[in-house]
């Protein structure tokens, strides 16, 4: 088997050059959020981290991420001590920008390492496909847009997730995989959405014996249990000791926020609100009762409690139950057939469920689906068929994150480049499935992809030309409804493939 070119390292070098060139690009308030966290972890004792509220961007990630920020702050001290002053709100001298952007790039090295492990762990015949999948993750436009322009540390966090997924592949790594995932939860609690799949998989393959399904493997259970207690204990321990757990949890889970996030993540609820909007237009003719207070709420796209004009209001409990119920069947299958690929499939489906039905979902959370799915997309052409609309929808839905003119060519051209390159490569590499696949889906995804072009043109250029600043919610609504159709479509496609293979 010949070496594969270009190597991951070579791609990383060129991608890094590009990311460094993007240093002066637009950055969202998340940049200031992370600067504030650097400052508060550096200048305050741990006891006060979760009480500090000088800036409105209070610490709302779990403690392990705060420790990570503390570590970065120790380096920041040598670059520019002004970064580390809490009262320096909105500080964005070039030293701060260079430093924080560099930390994102450096932290992403973990992702590169994890991808390397992934390629090494795959069997010889699948080397080429896993190499292509790894490259697609490394060069993902979602990571470029969210991490290197918008500003966040997802590359690093997904590196931890991938490392944990890769470890779960081998029997010897399963304990480590579980602990790694526990650490990931302590870094960012959004990964709780994936926890059911981990729970079921580790329970089945690690804690229960292989002979009968109810034969408990005591040593392994003890190892895993005590390991988890140690990980959580080390990270949350101090806060429990200081009796700050309630305060900490109230920061992590702010339930005061609305059903839909400001930009409308492309999930069931955005379709739901879209239907509500449409009903609002036709309601007077049909004689529905309209909740007048609600008429203006969703259109403004404000973070807050969303109310609907025609359709019933959704409570957090409903969304929680819906996510859980939709995860159940995939978990049952995982319990019955606990292979690594089923496990990754279940992780993907958990991501789908939480993204589609969750409360106050960010559009950025689409990575929870895209990244685990990338590992499976090349399994055969049926998987690829389900992946395609997701790849289009997931990335188009991120476009509203960057709304400045200068970044428009970057986000669109880079995404088109990535889609063209990887969908073509995947198309060549994906093997023929053992079962016939539904060609209707292919037609659907082709049509779907084509529609994205006029949509992007309308949302970013034509709308402004026709309406100016008015009706600003329309492009957002179109983008998210369009993307929601793609995400739901790919979810259905993936469900079919998952349950029939």
């Amino acid at each position: 088997m010949a070496e594969l070119y270009p190597s991951i390292a070579q791609c990383a070098v060129v991608a890094t050059a590009f990311k460094v060139l993007l240093f002066p690009a637009y950055r969202s308030t998340d940049f200031e959020v992370h600067r504030n966290w650097l400052a508060l972890t550096y200048s305050l004792p741990i006891k006060e981290w979760y009480y500090e509220k000088t800036s409105e961007w209070t610490l709302d990630y779990p403690p392990a991420f705060a420790y990570f920020e503390w570590l970065l702050a120790q380096m920041a001290h040598f670059i520019d001590p002004n970064i580390l002053k809490i009262e320096n709100m909105g500080y964005d001298r070039w030293q701060a920008v260079y430093f924080q952007r560099t930390t994102v790039i450096l932290a992403e090295l973990l992702l590169i390492y994890a991808l390397n492990c992934y390629i090494r762990s795959s069997s010889q015949p699948a080397k080429q496909t896993s190499y292509a999948a790894a490259l697609s993750i490394l060069l993902s436009p979602a990571l470029l847009i969210i991490d290197h322009i918008h500003f966040q540390y997802n590359g690093f966090l997904y590196g931890v997730l991938l490392l944990s997924l890769v470890c779960a592949r081998k029997q010897s790594g399963q304990l480590f995989s579980g602990l790694m995932f526990a650490l990931l939860l302590c870094l960012k609690h959004i990964y709780l959405y994936l926890a059911p799949a981990y729970f079921v998989y580790l329970l089945r393959v690690y804690c229960l014996g292989s002979k009968t399904r109810l034969d408990i493997h005591l040593v392994n259970s003890l190892k895993l249990g005590s390991g988890l207690v140690i990980v959580f204990g080390l990270i949350f321990g101090p806060f429990i000791y200081w009796r700050q757990l309630d305060q900490l949890l109230s920061r992590l889970f702010p339930f005061g926020r609305g059903l839909c996030h400001a930009y409308w993540a492309p999930n069931i609820w955005s379709l739901y609100s879209f239907t509500d909007r449409v009903l609002l237009l036709v309601a007077p003719r049909l004689g529905f009762v309209i909740d007048q207070d609600a008429v203006h709420s969703v259109t403004r796209g404000l973070v807050g409690n969303t109310s609907f004009a025609c359709l019933p209001t959704i409570s957090p409990r409903t969304t929680f139950l819906l996510s859980l119920v939709s995860q159940m069947p995939s978990l049952v299958k995982l319990f019955l057939q606990p292979s690594w690929e089923t496990f990754v499939g279940a992780v993907t489906l958990c991501g789908y469920s939480s993204f589609l039905f969750g409360w106050h979902v960010h559009e950025k959370a689409i990575l929870l689906v895209v990244i685990p799915f990338s590992l499976l997309a090349l399994k055969d052409r049926r998987y690829l068929g389900a992946f395609r609309p997701l790849a289009v929808a997931g990335h188009v839905s991120l476009f509203p994150l960057l709304f400045t003119a200068a970044e428009f060519p970057i986000k669109t051209v880079y995404t088109v480049f990535w889609l063209l390159l990887f969908l073509l490569v995947f198309d060549r590499l994906a093997p023929v499935p053992s079962r016939p696949r539904v060609f209707l889906l292919d037609r659907f995804s082709l049509l779907y992809t084509t529609v994205s072009i006029p949509l992007i043109v309308y949302c970013s250029l034509a709308h402004q030309f026709v309406f100016g600043e008015r009706y600003g919610f329309i492009p957002l609504m179109f983008t998210s409804s369009y993307s929601a159709i793609g995400v739901v479509g790919s979810w259905i496609g993936f469900l079919v493939v998952y349950f029939t293979s």
Binding site: Y5, V14, L22, R381, R428, F439
Partner: protein, 594 residues
């Protein structure tokens, strides 16, 4: 489509027609691996992938790098009262869209008066018209001076990018393909060379960071070369005149092109018809380029629009110094006035020998022996004579041996001669000699050890001499990124020494002396960067680092000039048995035709 099989199957990599320049055979196996990272990146496209897929991908990537470079600063940002090159270009869009055409070359000359040939003016007019639709404040007459707005910057950056994608990039693709086909270069290797050409750091930095429209002129030049390679000399003339009428700097290439055209009219036997055709087409092209300006000013005079809004009509020196008096009322007066004024503006003979510090002969000599003491006219004459002496040999060779494949070499050689010895040279002019050198990466064995080492070295040196200019624009970061990226892609120092010490170096293509020379310059450049960054210059010599840059640059460019000229002589076959080689070539030509 009823089957569930994939529509296309991947071809197996069995054929391996690529040369060892790019692909190094792995000992003991039939496979091979890439020689440098750029080859790795295009490795998957080596077999069976259609250019219709790879080319758009390449264009997107190089476009992304260009656009991202544009995020950084530009020349003259927030430096009143004159600002910089971006303001100059914006100002031209302002005056061309608001003033009658007869006033373009006269309006408020001290504030960035138009001093480029008419095609630039028409281009500015078009861009100004389009931009005014988006926001009329950007180009409002007089009030928009020094206007700085995020969206305006985006618009200006976009105009550079679009102009480049309309002129330079298609021309580079066509020329690269033509050169490759002519010299029998494998398609895939041509593609590798194309990416190397399009990622050339100096051009990206000057146009997309510092801000200029050089690629339009360079693109017309490439189109001209490519027409000449295709044997369409007349189209070559049209494109070259377009380059000249866009930016007068294209004159650097004029001697080589002129000599080549003379050559194809004389060798193998004199061809008067061809000569006349070339002369007529060239004159016509100039006439068409200047026609809107000249006809427009006749029309303006007819309408009674004065040439200048100030009281006295300025007369360019060239029109007053004519031996006969020109009647100001005559019909031809406005056009002659426009013509002389534009030429007077385009060729600023009155300016000094050199402006900023530039790595050419005059600036280097000036360091040791002050040249202020001489009269300007005297110096200009001396520099003209020395330039002519320098480029004479190359001109002679290309007109005696007007082979198409020699043209880029001759252009590189004369452009270096011009850069080193003529007066009023800008540091940015180094793009001109670098262009024909860089396109040679796409020629026969262009990616082999020798050419890659030399062309890479010249480019690294060229972009390094631009550093003081880029530093003033706060562009150190993109300079570092793009330069190191290019070095990395092509496997050049300081990222890789494989050309000099590795496996490739053992084939004896690079002489020991060459290796020592290149490495000494690389070492000097790196030491210079370290010194410039950490050691402040002594108080009595504040320009120490810039002067050192100029001296090292001058020495290196001198070597580049000698190398290009030497290659031209070697490749012309002058050194070998002249007639024998000629006959061989003619026989080969005949074979090709059959």
């Amino acid at each position: 489509m009823a089957s569930h099989k994939p529509r296309r199957r991947r071809k197996e990599d069995t054929s391996d027609a690529t040369s060892r320049d790019v692909a190094r055979p792995n000992p003991g196996t039939s496979s091979s691996s890439p020689q440098f990272p750029l080859a790795s990146f295009l490795w998957p496209a080596k077999n069976s992938v259609s250019q219709w897929v790879t080319l758009p991908l390449i264009l997107m990537v190089v476009g992304l790098f260009r656009w991202a470079t544009g995020f950084w600063g530009y020349s003259g940002f927030s430096i009143p009262p004159m600002y910089g090159d971006l303001e100059a270009q914006r100002h031209w869009m302002e005056i061309t869209t608001h003033l009658p055409i007869s006033q373009w070359y006269f309006y408020d000359l001290p504030y960035w008066g138009l001093d480029y040939p008419p095609l630039t003016a028409y281009h500015s007019w078009l861009l100004g018209k389009i931009g005014s639709i988006i926001d009329p404040r950007w180009f409002a007459l007089d009030t928009s001076r020094g206007f700085e707005d995020q969206l305006l910057k985006v618009y200006m950056r976009a105009t550079v990018l679009v102009s480049e994608y309309l002129v330079y990039i298609p021309a580079a693709i066509i020329l690269n393909r033509k050169l490759g086909r002519m010299l029998g270069v494998n398609n895939w290797e041509s593609l590798v060379a194309l990416v190397a050409i399009l990622m050339q750091p100096a051009t990206i930095l000057i146009d997309h960071a510092h801000f200029q429209y050089n690629t339009v002129m360079l693109g017309f030049t490439l189109a001209s070369i490519s027409s000449m390679l295709a044997g369409r000399a007349l189209w070559g003339c049209v494109f070259f005149v377009a380059a000249l009428c866009y930016k007068q700097m294209a004159l650097y290439y004029a001697p080589a092109i002129f000599a080549y055209l003379i050559g194809i009219c004389m060798v193998p036997k004199p061809n008067v018809g061809r000569f006349l055709a070339i002369a007529i087409v060239t004159i016509l092209s100039f006439a068409i380029s200047f026609a809107p300006l000249l006809l427009g000013s006749i029309l303006d005079q007819y309408r009674g629009i004065p040439v200048s809004t100030t009281k006295e009509t300025p007369s360019p020196p060239s029109i007053t110094s004519l031996p006969f008096a020109v009647n100001e009322k005559s019909w031809y007066f406005p056009s002659s006035l426009q013509l002389t004024q534009s030429i007077h503006r385009i060729f600023p003979f009155a300016r000094g020998l050199f402006e900023d510090k530039v790595a050419n002969m005059w600036c280097a000599v000036h360091t040791f022996h002050k040249l202020h003491n001489y009269r300007l006219g005297q110096m200009q004459r001396i520099s003209t004579v020395i330039t002519l002496i320098t480029i004479w040999p190359s001109m002679m060779i290309i007109s005696l041996f007007p082979y198409r494949e020699l043209l880029p070499w001759a252009m590189a050689s004369t452009a270096w001669g011009f850069f080193l010895c003529s007066f009023q040279v800008h540091e940015k002019s180094v793009l001109l000699p670098l262009l024909p050198m860089t396109i040679l990466l796409g020629s026969e064995r262009g990616l082999g050890t020798e050419l890659r080492a030399w062309i890479g070295w010249a480019n690294m040196l060229g972009v390094w001499t631009l550093f003081p200019l880029l530093k003033r624009d706060e562009l150190r970061m993109p300079y570092g990124v793009l330069t190191l990226l290019w070095a990395y892609l092509l496997g050049l120092p300081p990222t890789s020494f494989s050309l000099y010490f590795g496996r490739q170096s053992k084939n004896g293509e690079l002489k020991v002396l060459t290796k020592m020379l290149h490495l000494a310059f690389y070492a000097a450049m790196m030491a210079w960067h370290a010194g410039e960054a950490f050691v402040p210059p002594p108080e009595d010599k504040p320009d120490l680092w810039v002067v050192l840059n100029v001296l090292i640059g001058f020495a290196g460019f001198g070597v580049c000039f000698l190398w290009c000229s030497w290659q031209l002589i070697l490749r012309s076959g002058l050194m070998e048995d002249y007639f024998g080689v000629r006959m061989k070539i003619e026989a080969a030509d005949r074979k090709k035709k059959q």
